[in-house]
């Protein structure tokens, strides 16, 4: 269980580091990156919740939630990056 806890705590730190840079950074790209780091932290926590000891099969629910969450996060990132790029093009025009 110690190993799972270490993963989960790392996830918590990643989550808050991501939130922090989303709040504080000026650059939008850094903010979007921060959101991705936060998401990764949460997914790490979910994965560590799946671990139930060496002798037990893992819990498939958190694994599936991570997969769903990843696809959602990638979609949102793609949209944010497209918006960011369009705004920059408008600045150039």
């Amino acid at each position: 269980m110690t190993q799972a806890l270490i993963y989960a705590l790392t996830g918590a730190v990643l989550f808050m580091l991501g939130v922090r840079s989303t709040l504080l950074r000026d650059s939008l790209l850094a903010r979007i990156l921060g959101l991705n780091v936060s998401g990764a932290g949460i997914f790490l926590i979910f994965v560590s919740l799946a671990y139930r000891g060496d002798s037990m099969p893992t819990d498939p629910i958190p694994h599936a939630l991570v997969l769903t969450g990843l696809v959602v996060a990638i979609s949102a990132t793609a949209l944010a990056l497209a918006l960011n790029r369009r705004l920059r093009e408008m600045d150039d025009e």
């Binding site: 799972a4 997969l67 793609a78 920059r88």
Partner: protein, 264 residues
């Protein structure tokens, strides 16, 4: 863990594209003062400690029994033998359906916001040679990932991502469309995953079931069918997001008299 790695890699790729486009637009919200910085740091520290405390309590001190025993016990009724696929496509299939809708909304957003990026020069002979065996290999890998998803880690998302990689390689080699069709066919491709999922979900209700309650004998087949369609749609969406905007022919289906494409 394989899933996590693939996902992280993909978002990484998308972020790198943005870096290629050089600096950010100077869209600064509000200049952050030193005090605010300090407050945010303090807030982050406190929240980290709190979340860590809860994780310590729930994972280490008194872990509770979660849904794993139930999920594994019901596996034989799910039509697949890989528990994660059972959750994604059967127990919590509704989540996956809505997830595909999120993908569609995002890719439509990318197409609303901008036109696609310039493509790349036609690749030289060495890279072309590489492409000639890399693309078929990726397509076969995608099919394999889809097929084994029923038993071991794999499935629609991984297969879709691999298929999308084939499209990206094609575009790097100078194929601007990245292997995607145009006009109506592209629209059908985007709709396929959700459309089939929804049709199956509603179809089984005719047979006295709940929404998405597959008949037991058919669940394996239906799941594979849904996953195949979802793979195609996810791959198309990822490639479109990579192309960075709406293709030139996108709006013409709507505006010009284009009966040929509509009827084909």
């Amino acid at each position: 863990m394989a899933e996590a790695a693939i996902g992280a890699g993909l978002s990484g790729a998308l972020l790198l594209i943005a870096l290629r486009d050089e600096t950010d637009s100077n869209l600064t919200a509000l200049k952050v003062s030193q005090v605010t910085r300090w407050l945010v740091d303090l807030f982050s520290l406190i929240m980290t400690v709190l979340i860590g405390w809860v994780l310590w309590l729930t994972i280490y001190v008194e872990p509770v029994e979660r849904l794993a025993p139930l999920a594994n016990a019901m596996l034989e009724h799910s039509g697949v033998s890989n528990p994660v696929t059972a959750v994604l496509l059967n127990y919590r299939g509704y989540d996956t359906l809505l997830e595909l809708v999120v993908v569609l909304a995002a890719v439509l957003g990318v197409m609303v916001v901008g036109r696609e990026r310039r493509g790349y020069r036609q690749a030289g002979p060495v890279f072309c040679g590489l492409v000639h065996w890399l693309v078929p290999l990726l397509i076969v890998t995608a099919g394999y990932l889809l097929w084994i998803g029923a038993h071991t880690p794999g499935g629609a998302f991984q297969a879709g991502a691999t298929l999308a990689a084939a499209g990206i390689v094609l575009r790097l080699a100078g194929n601007d469309a990245a292997g995607l069709p145009e006009g109506m066919w592209l629209r059908w491709l985007l709709v396929a995953g959700i459309g089939l999922f929804l049709t199956v979900g509603l179809g089984v209700t005719l047979n006295d079931g709940q929404f998405l309650q597959y008949p037991k004998a058919w669940s394996g087949t239906l799941i594979l069918l849904i996953e195949s369609a979802a793979t195609a749609s996810i791959a198309a969406a990822l490639v479109l997001a990579y192309r960075g905007g709406r293709p030139d022919g996108w709006l013409s289906v709507a505006d010009k008299d284009n009966d040929r494409e509509v009827s084909s």
